[in-house]
Symmetry: C2
Subunit: 84 residues, 2 copies
Amino acid sequence: MFIGNIYITLKEGVLDPAGKAANNKLRDLGFTNINNIKMGKFIEVELEAESKEEAIRQLEAISEQLLANLVIENYRVEVVEGDK
Amino acid sequence: MFIGNIYITLKEGVLDPAGKAANNKLRDLGFTNINNIKMGKFIEVELEAESKEEAIRQLEAISEQLLANLVIENYRVEVVEGDK
């Protein structure tokens, strides 16, 4: 079994209202040293695969087919643990 | 300036309906080798701080005060880039 991580982030130029709201709220709380917050997703996946390379291909496939919206989001995958 | 990452994940035992839905949908799509998906947040932050240690403390503070819901979520922070 492998454990993989998928990081999904908004592409440059795409509006990030949740990040903007967090930024504003942090300024209200006195964190004036926080300049820019970008909200993304962190997805942990357990999967079966023949090799680490195959696990990476599977993570890329599920990102493209379901988890990421490629119009506005980028994704990055990594395998952090595996028994093969 | 420092760049930090914050990872927010659901605590063990907390229901994860978005992860469950993704898992079900992936099985429908034929990814029967995907066993478990956990949905979390990945937050990128730019901040000013006197040192890397201070940057980490700031990231922990904003996680606890705003970004994470400590009743149901865990958080982890790291500083990935900095000029000091």
